[in-house]
Subunit: 287 residues, 2 copies
Amino acid sequence: MSDLRAPEHQVAGHRAAPDKLGPLVDGAGLFYKPLQALDRGEQELAFYTAFSAHPDVPPRIRDAFFPRFHGTRLLPTAASPGESHPHLILDDLLKGLAAPSVTDIKIGACTWPPRAPEPYVAKCLAKDRGSTSVLLGFRVSGVMVSDPSGAVWRPDRSELKGTDIPGVRRMLRRYVSSAGGDGGGEDCALAAAVYGGEGGVLAQLRELKAWFEVQTLFHFYSASILLSYDANAVTAPGGAPRVKLVDFAHVVESEGVIDHNFLGGLCSLIKFIDDIVSSDKAPPAQS
Amino acid sequence: MSDLRAPEHQVAGHRAAPDKLGPLVDGAGLFYKPLQALDRGEQELAFYTAFSAHPDVPPRIRDAFFPRFHGTRLLPTAASPGESHPHLILDDLLKGLAAPSVTDIKIGACTWPPRAPEPYVAKCLAKDRGSTSVLLGFRVSGVMVSDPSGAVWRPDRSELKGTDIPGVRRMLRRYVSSAGGDGGGEDCALAAAVYGGEGGVLAQLRELKAWFEVQTLFHFYSASILLSYDANAVTAPGGAPRVKLVDFAHVVESEGVIDHNFLGGLCSLIKFIDDIVSSDKAPPAQS
């Protein structure tokens, strides 16, 4: 266990620090996520347990779009020597990406489970209204763009927080542009390779959408879609971008109906990205 | 104009009375809707004006799913002799239905335009959370079921208000059941004819959905889908059920993105109705 370390390429969520719990990776393909406080950790564990064994989840959906769940493990906490904390053991979704470009997109206009307690609803609603969630059906919670040269662009959280719709468009354009680094542009040089094509992000999102049109098992409040690709390899065979769902602390069982909130946001994301690919193909506007 | 009268088969919204403004019909195919108070009437008029002339609205969508707009007319008000009030002139959507069965389904988990003033948002949010809107992505605002025998079942508003998800399911089953009247059951005898088939409600809703997946013109907050059919004619050729959008006082222009809120609710309605048709086809549960 001595080889556990904080992941280098985390773009959203709590980060590990000497005095703080945060996720760890073992470098061999596993990701250790500390169970969150309150009942969130228990809820996320309950989701992974139920989801992993659910006979009505198509294996293809589970394998393609969710991190595999390998149980839990107690790990010592650096902050409190002698104490330990339970962690979920999951696939490391960014394993093997030499020049990782990653974005965390929180899906849904509404991030609060309908039967959540009042102060939590109010807090989430304020964030949903203060971000693009209500207007757009999703918000960007984190992004980093790597360049094969090694340059990295990673706006900080305060920058993401105030982002409006044009700002999200710029971010998702920059996410597929060749120039990393702070002076990076929006040439969308990788749009076709990352978003388009047979194994691209859009094709994967459409497959996920088809499942959300019929699944009445879970409602994924406040979950994210994590997009990632290797800037060194995305145009090569086998370098297909990855599309995964993460963050299930607020998933609830369905009451026999589809997750219209997640599905609406997912459809919005698909159209939004499709517009970026299309505008990239169109001849440049006359000036 | 002496032949104007209150429509007999209105299931939701304000009703005309000697001392109150309400919609009128002329019996020849036109429906007169009084412009609503505050700026809602003006907003609905602005929507109809913009929508009717918009070059990016496919004519097929406009003709199939929206009441035609014929301008406005000042009509004398019974409540205040000598005064007149502007009315929208629209198609009478229930024209020619001898035994009309009608349901008004308000679409979307969220019925408040994101940039609406605060007290209005709070009022809508309370209604959305207190009804099935947040959980289900839609709520039933009105329903009447006619029987060829002349019997009619029309629950009153207080009955609709407290409806939960199983209650909505019972209503949408009863909407396609043969027995009207208060002792009516849920035999779903008309489910295949009304909901299923080539020209049925599901096929029409799916066509509408395909448009909502790409249209970035308008966001239809608080709009309804009005379903109607003639219980005397729905199994005969030409008796196809009607699917129309109504109530556009809270429509806003899009900001270049799809109406994920309406689309999510519409997808939920499609799955919900599809489940009714499928369960109707399945062999009866063993008892």
